[in-house]
Amino acid sequence: MGEMIKNQITLFIDGLEVIVEKGVSVLEAALKNNIYIPHLCYCPDVKPFGACRLCLVEINGQILPSCLTPAEDGMIVKTKTPDIERIRKIILELLIANHHSNCRHCPSSGKCNLQKIRGRLRVNVKRMRPLRMAKEKMPIDTSNPVFDYDPNRCILCGVCVQICEKKGNNIANFFGRGYVTKVIFLGDTSKCEVCQQCVTKCPVGALISKKH
């Protein structure tokens, strides 16, 4: 028996034994070991936000967001119980019903995480029929010289807000509250052309480069 390396812990994700470094989250532990947990607002470059609720898992009978839960030695994590899968599916359906966009017209089609997760979870439109689709469309913000922002496609993951604070000019912010929350970009745009981190890291098609 080899000696345990001090900084390593062992946990069990869906019955699989996983060895990771101390300090990583359950979601990171899973992803590093090729166990996929759906997620939209997690981005390795920024702090976990815990908003999309798609990465919920079951630990000790509790439902927790895996992106915010530190992996612990001996932890038993279930990512695919029928309960969790149903919750996840309904959250996704709610998001799609509210998302306005038709994938076929979206410049992000093919690299969109929402589209990818929808395919993986096999959410079909027929099941969603009783849901009310969003009616009003919010105007597209074209004020930034480098990119356009479509609030109707935005899922408010907050990645652009965080990454702009970290790497850009800190011009992205949440605006408004509740259902009408959106992101606004106000201030010095001189770095935008070079940076474009927000456009690159947007998990959906809400931020699109003007060059597109």
Binding site: F49, G50, A51, C52, R53, L54, L56, I63, L64, P65, L68, T69, P70, R86, I87, I90, I91, L94, L95, A97, N98, P130, L131, R132, I155, L156, F174, G176, R177, G178, Y179, V180, T181
Partner: protein, 540 residues
């Protein structure tokens, strides 16, 4: 000699709205004109019987005059002259027999109440610390500081069984203990006065009517957990509460109950007021702290450390509701056993409610935990006006639920209400009569949640909007056969997946109305009929 008399003029927000300030100045003029040196005039906080305001009370007899108008003033003052008779027509009249009842203690509205926390509300001038001192104020602080250790205070609170009165009902003593044990050079105490439930005004009334009891509770808490600084988070929409709290803080400082070396002890404590910016979600303690730090008021997701360990600016922070703090001086002064002598096994002490809606006597009430809903609505509240039938009672605001007539004999305590699908909440209690459409009520509360959700997590932001859209469609006759099941399914997911308590409780009004009034939903969807006749696109 004529005996000393006090004329108390209620200056709660409701009575002020009814003209109490004018009544007061007229009483003053009349008193001066008649040169009545044995009469003291006082402005008080809410006396509770808001329905009958403006209220004027004459002590020591305890005569209550209702709906006092400017022209009634001379008669009231003249009745205090030797041989004078109190004007009967201003008495409360029994709604059944029509008999005038001169003394408020004989009125059913007051009879079934146990006014412990509200003991000073409506009886003292909240802007005069001497009044509070006269009624035993700051004696508990003196006892805590001079006779008790921190551990003894926490133990007393624990043994009392007091549970947080902001809504969740977490054991107060346990929270204090966690904060006390947290190691830090700095700790904070926060009083949560961000009352926001529609129809709730009990925290406001207490801040307006007896601000020193809250300060005293906070100072004791500060000493017990080892904090030197306290904050009161008040809604900016409560200007009178802010004003009276400020006056109270200044007076407490002058008297040495706040500041350095309080009562000569090695203990410093200061309190500052923070005015909120009107977001309902900021009543949630982590969002409240974000907002105090100057950030967006967004709740912090679990798993996270407890605020009693990592709170405001990362320091251990004790947050309790206004009413919870106001209970503390009582517990310290009278002991845990006294406090726990009323209430149920798991809910001790009293509960304070803002009784409103379709009820004869609306107002601010304090009742022992475990009282039956029926006693509150029919004995204290005087039943439903205009001969209408009772339909439902809503507790806990947007996080609570609607309970039907068959649950009227249910005891009012934390656990019974939760079991019935509602919650104690912070103290709103709205009575509804037969003319209320329960689908419309659910729609109203969801509209509130959609507007007040912080917008961070998807289940709450998008899910409550989806539920609102469905409910709105049902009230317009556009309901589909699958809608009830869909609402139930969405409710379950929103409750379980949302990030904070706002989302986790938002479906409660929908769940309870479906659970207890399903036939109304069915009438709307399948018969395109609104049985209460509220939804105007549908027939009755």
């Amino acid at each position: 000699m004529n005996k000393m008399r006090k004329i108390l003029v209620c200056h709660g927000t409701g009575c002020i709205g009814g003209g109490a300030e004018q009544i007061f100045s007229l009483l003053e003029k009349e008193k001066t004109r008649l040169n009545l040196s044995n009469v003291v005039l006082k402005r008080t906080g809410c006396h509770g019987f808001c329905q009958r305001g403006p209220l004027v009370i004459v002590e020591p007899e305890g005569i209550l005059y209702c709906k006092v108008q400017p022209q009634d003033v001379p008669e009231i003052v003249q009745s205090l002259l030797p041989g004078g008779n109190p004007p009967q027509r201003l008495f409360y009249h029994d709604p059944v027999t029509g008999d005038p009842i001169p003394y408020y203690r004989d009125i059913t509205f007051y009879k079934k109440q146990q006014r412990r926390v509200l003991r000073n509300c409506g009886r003292i001038d909240p802007e005069d610390i001497e009044d509070y001192l006269e009624r035993g104020g700051y004696q508990a602080l003196q006892k805590a500081l001079m006779e008790m250790t921190q551990e003894q205070i926490i133990d007393e609170v624990k043994r009392s069984g007091l549970r947080g009165l902001g809504g969740a009902g977490f054991p107060t003593g346990k929270k204090w203990e966690v904060c006390y044990k947290a190691q830090s050079d700095e700790k904070y105490v926060i009083c949560n006065g961000d009352e926001g439930d529609p129809g709730a005004f009990q925290d406001r009334s207490l801040m307006e009517g007896d601000p020193h009891s809250i300060l005293e509770g906070m100072i004791i808490a500060g000493f017990a957990v080892g904090a030197k600084k306290g904050f009161i988070y008040v809604r900016a929409e409560y200007p009178l509460a802010v004003k009276r709290l400020k006056i109270a803080i200044n007076q407490a400082k002058e008297k040495g109950f706040l500041g350095k070396n309080i009562l000569g002890c090695d203990f410093d404590f200061d309190i500052e007021i923070f005015q909120g910016a009107g977001a309902f979600v900021c009543g949630e303690s982590t969002a409240l702290i974000e907002s105090m730090e100057g950030k967006r008021g967004m709740p912090k997701p679990h798993p996270r450390p407890r605020l009693a360990e990592v709170g405001l600016w990362g320091k251990p922070t004790l947050i309790n509701n206004v009413k919870t703090f106001a209970n503390i001086p009582l517990i310290i002064a009278n002991g845990a056993e006294w406090f726990a002598s009323i209430g149920t096994e798991k809910s001790k002490g009293t509960a304070i409610f803002s009784l409103t809606g379709k009820v004869v006597n609306s107002g601010l009430i304090e009742v022992p935990m475990g009282i039956k809903l029926r006693e509150i609505i029919y004995d204290i509240g005087g039943g439903i006006p205009n001969g209408k039938a009772f339909k439902a009672v809503q507790t806990g605001g947007p996080s609570g639920g609607c309970l039907p007539a068959r649950l009227l004999d249910m005891p009012v305590d934390f656990d019974s209400l939760t079991e019935a699908g509602s919650m104690m909440g912070s103290g709103g209690m709205v009575v509804m009569d037969e003319d209320t459409c329960m689908v419309d009520v659910a729609r109203y509360f969801l509209e509130f949640t959609v507007r007040e959700s912080c917008g961070k997590c998807i289940p709450c932001r998008v899910g409550t909007k989806q539920m609102y859209d469905i409910l709105d469609a049902i009230t317009k006759g556009e309901g589909k056969r699958e809608d009830i099941d869909l609402l139930l399914e969405l409710s379950e997911v929103i409750k379980r997946a949302s990030l904070c308590a706002l989302g986790q409780t938002a479906p409660n009004p929908v769940l309870t109305t479906i659970r207890y009034f399903r036939e109304e939903y069915e009438a709307h969807i399948f018969e395109k009929r609104c049985p209460a006749g509220v939804c105007d696109r549908l027939t009755r």
